[in-house]
């Protein structure tokens, strides 16, 4: 395996140009923590951007951060934390789920675009990426977007790059919007609801004026073997439903009380404060019930995005049909499903249910032979798939970048 460790944007340009000339596709990595996600990439040359790791500028007053794409997540998070700011889309840390070292770069985080619980209130990575410098599959450096929060000059190319798993361009520098951290948080805990009732409770909470910033449900079966924060609040075989409120202290605590009243038909809510609340949401965000170090280590894990109000019904059907386990985030709009191992991760049956619900499913964790056998990313209707492919082609006509990562057809 050939690993090219680039030092600057010019190196990236040259590496891509050489790859075009030699018709050698490149696998793009930051720290490579997510290399096991997606279709296996068809190449043996790796472009490593982790040396592009400088912070270009951070202006807390402008709510703007510009960093090179290889900057380590850990460093960036502690930098903005020092100013009491955060990425409000709450990106997940995949290391527990995937069983990888606790590493990762900002470019990898954006390319994966995996937003956490606050997605329902604050949006995803796509909503916070304001500008990029990148190198396309033409081997050209270009920029898109800007360094201000409000900008409609030219096409919003940033939206395409977030969540593209490095198949459109190699990002060299990114500008992100950061937001102040909330002063306080409160979590309402409801116990013993089944998936349908919990879905209703979360729908009621999200339809209330109390500005909910997290709504998750963990069925008892998924909690049974869970360690850590979630394990500690769970009673044997009893589900927990979590609803989070954030803001200034007076407001968060008052809303918690009001929301408990709104939800009283679902039971008496216990209220957790600040640190006790935060650890739970970190566990939900990082999907610890299905951690690679836990009893579900060998089970493939799906990430299903679906209309929230019918998420409970979908999750129940999946769990029942597959003998698997599910947990819910985004008020039912995000379902993580761990299914007993099989050659195709039960893709066909699962996708049938998901399609009927109007959702889509991505296989986030599975052994390589399984990922070769199924579509990791949700198969799309012909028209969209063809348009998506034309868009990809407009960035990388020779399919140099991460060939086949998002689409099985391209790898062969």
């Amino acid at each position: 395996m050939d690993i090219l460790k680039v030092r600057d944007a010019q190196d990236v340009e040259q590496a891509v140009r050489a790859a075009i000339a030699s018709e050698q596709p490149l696998e793009i990595i930051g720290h490579g923590s997510k290399r096991m996600v997606g279709q296996p990439v068809a190449t043996n040359a790796v472009l490593d951007v982790s040396a592009l790791n400088a912070v270009t500028s951070y202006e807390p007053n402008e709510l703007i951060l510009t960093v090179q794409a290889g900057a380590p997540m850990a460093d960036v998070l502690s930098l903005i934390d020092s100013k009491n700011q955060q990425f409000s889309f709450e990106p997940m840390n995949t290391s527990q789920l995937l069983g990888t070292p606790d590493i990762g770069t900002i470019g990898g985080m954006i390319s994966a675009g995996l937003a956490g619980p606050r997605r329902i209130q604050a949006g995803g990575a796509r909503d916070h990426l304001l500008g990029v410098y990148a190198v396309s599959g033409f081997g050209d450096s270009y920029k898109a977007g800007g360094r201000v929060v409000k900008n409609v000059t030219g096409y919003d190319v940033c939206k395409l790059l977030a969540g593209a798993w490095g198949t459109l361009s190699v990002m060299t520098e990114v500008t992100l919007k950061v937001m102040p951290r909330a002063e306080s948080e409160r979590t309402l805990v409801l116990r013993g609801l089944d998936d349908i009732a919990a879905n209703k409770a979360m729908t009621a909470a999200l339809g209330s004026p109390f500005d909910v910033s997290g709504a998750a449900h963990l069925p008892g079966s998924a909690l049974r073997t869970t360690q850590g924060a979630l394990g500690e609040i769970a009673s044997p075989d009893q589900s927990v439903t979590l609803i989070r409120l954030e803001g200034i202290t007076a407001s968060a605590s008052q809303r918690a009380v009001s929301l408990s009243t709104t939800l009283k038909s679902f039971g008496v809510a216990e209220i957790l404060e600040d640190a006790a609340s935060a650890v739970l949401w970190a566990a939900v965000r990082d999907v610890t019930p299905f951690a690679a170090s836990g009893p579900r280590a060998m089970w493939p894990v799906w990430r299903i995005v679906t209309p929230p109000a019918s998420g409970g019904a979908l999750g129940q059907a999946i769990a029942k049909g597959s003998q698997g386990e599910v947990i819910y985030d985004w008020g039912g709009g995000l379902i993580w499903a761990a299914l007993p191992p099989s050659a195709d991760a039960q893709a066909a049956q699962l996708r049938k249910l998901v399609n009927a619900a109007g959702g889509h499913a991505t296989l986030i964790r599975a052994p390589e032979d399984v990922r070769r056998a199924v579509d990791v990313f949700h198969p799309q209707p012909k028209g969209i798939a063809a348009l998506g492919e034309r868009v990809r082609h407009s960035f990388d006509p020779k399919t140099i970048l991460n060939r086949g990562r998002m689409s099985r057809g391209l790898g062969t």
Binding site: G124, T153, D156, K159, R181, H360
Partner: protein
């Protein structure tokens, strides 16, 4: 007219009668308008200095009709300009002499309201405000609120990625969409997203939003709705120096407060607005901030206190706090009427729309004053201060020969200045024709070529809304060519492992 549009295709113009007849077959009834008198209302959009009668106007009312019209135009090499309500301030909906103007005004239905999924499915001709009205009975609203919300269409909002006073806290159009249906120039109908928080595959909805009618015609939109905050209150704060107001904005944000809205007006704008609506604005200040806080009552009351204290610390000279809904609306009345108010003190004005890093505000206002003296034209500033989005209104008189040109040159200088200090050409009004020729100030040819390649993926013949956004048009075949830079490794010293 200083902005040149592509030369009309004489061969298309020569076929006009046959084209009109063919369109009549595709869109029966009153859906085709071809007489000069009836086409008059379509000659311009909100950028009224520019007018151009279209070749013909088509007003379909189903996706199928849109698809047929586009397919016909595609097959016959005819250009198409989409239009919503025609309030664009950048000339995005300006007709072309040899193009079909495709109006979406008949797409007026709210198709579905789904409170459980907090989603509303609408047709593109529904006005922005009508969405909020349709869900108000259940306490919901649609957050992005351009000042033109009574008139502008949601389709136009998607095409322009419009923002409003509340964008600072609730985002622009793009942050509040769940799905859309678009018809490509080929006539193909594509649906992306739905009631899910994220779409699958590439974020095509994200690239369509803000594409100014160049990528596809939007025929259905699913938006996210929110519960109305329990209360909203506003502070109206005067400052003797613009710098102090700018500092106040920065300090509010660094204190971790994201207000629902944070607007600034400079002296000329304050005076014009006060003369028009008598909102009680202080006239002896250099800058006025209106800061609105929304949310639960306890939160708003507490944050009002914090903001007031921050303002005092920045040297505020006056501070009024709304105690009733009526008073809150009064504070806003002057800001919301700023454009017509300026319209009263000047025969014509040009509304600019750059964004700057907020820290650059004092510098930009100072330089603008110098330019105002140089060009001999007045300028009044209203400003979405929270997110750095400036709206300088350049005052001129179109009846005085040369003044439009002067005003446009002044405007271009302001936008160049925005880019120079690290900002951008447009924060919410779009590039259209107005800022088209300034794109190279911000983007290199390589940058613009990559954007145009995306256009090629949607519209390979460049028939949809040509002459907008991009200063030079390239053929898709030319843009798609990959240059092979020799076969050898060009980076011998690159570390390899």
């Amino acid at each position: 007219m200083t902005i040149m549009m592509p030369a009309p295709d004489q061969a298309v113009l020569a076929r006009r009668e046959a084209i009109v007849a063919a369109l009549h077959k595709l869109v029966p009834g009153e859906g085709v308008i071809s007489s000069a008198a009836e086409m008059l209302p379509y000659e311009s959009d909100g950028l009224m200095a520019y007018r151009q009668p279209p070749m013909v106007v088509v007003l379909p009312d189903t996706t199928e009709q849109v698809s047929k019209v586009l397919k016909y135009c595609h097959e016959n090499g005819i250009k198409v300009v989409p239009r919503g309500s025609g309030t664009s301030l950048s000339g995005g909906a300006l007709p072309l002499a040899d193009a079909v103007l495709l109006g979406l005004g008949k797409f007026k239905r709210v198709r579905e309201i789904d409170f459980d999924n907090r989603a509303v499915v609408v047709e593109p001709g529904v006005t922005n405000l009508a969405i909020s009205q349709a869900v108000a009975h259940a306490g919901f609203y649609y957050a992005p609120d351009p000042s033109s919300q009574i008139a502008c269409s949601i389709g136009g909002n998607v095409a322009e990625n419009s923002g409003g006073v509340h964008s600072l806290k609730y985002g622009m159009t793009t942050n509040n969409l769940l799905g859309c249906e678009i018809v490509l120039m080929s006539g193909e109908v594509i649906r992306v997203g739905g009631k899910t928080a994220e779409t699958s595959g590439y974020d095509l909805m994200g690239i369509i939003t803000g594409s100014e009618g160049l990528l596809g015609v939007i025929t259905e939109i699913t938006v996210r709705i929110l519960q109305k905050p329990e209360t909203a209150r506003a502070l109206m704060i005067g400052f003797a120096e613009v710098e102090h107001a700018g500092q106040c904005v920065a300090d509010v944000i660094s204190a971790g407060i994201i207000p629902g809205g944070m607007e600034m007006m400079d002296k000329p704008a304050i005076h014009a607005a006060e003369a028009f609506v008598h909102a009680g604005y202080p006239l002896d200040v250099e800058a006025l901030l209106i800061i609105e806080l929304d949310g639960p009552g306890v939160e708003v009351d507490e944050l009002i206190k914090r903001v007031e204290k921050i303002a005092l610390g920045c040297g505020s000279t006056t501070c009024q706090i709304s105690t009733s809904e009526q008073e809150r609306l009064l504070f806003w009345s002057g800001r919301k009427a700023a454009f017509p108010a300026v319209g009263r003190i000047s025969p014509d004005y040009l509304c600019m729309d750059g964004t700057i890093p907020r820290a650059a505000l004092p510098l930009v206002l100072r330089r603008m004053k110098e330019m105002s003296a140089k060009y001999g034209l007045g300028v009044a500033n209203v400003f979405h201060a929270g997110d750095g989005n400036l709206h300088p209104l350049i005052l001129y008189d179109a009846n005085k020969p040369g003044e439009l040109q002067l005003a446009e040159d002044f405007g271009a200088d302001i936008l160049r200045l925005c880019v120079e200090v690290g900002g951008v050409l447009t924060g919410e009004h779009g590039v259209g024709i107005e800022k088209r020729d300034l794109m190279p100030e911000m983007f290199s040819e390589v940058d613009l070529n990559q954007q145009q390649r995306i256009k090629c993926a949607f519209d390979s013949q460049g028939l949809l809304n040509p002459g907008k956004v991009f200063p030079t048009l390239h053929r898709c075949a030319e843009l798609g060519r990959v240059h092979v830079h020799g076969g050898k490794l060009a980076f011998p010293d690159l570390p390899r492992f």
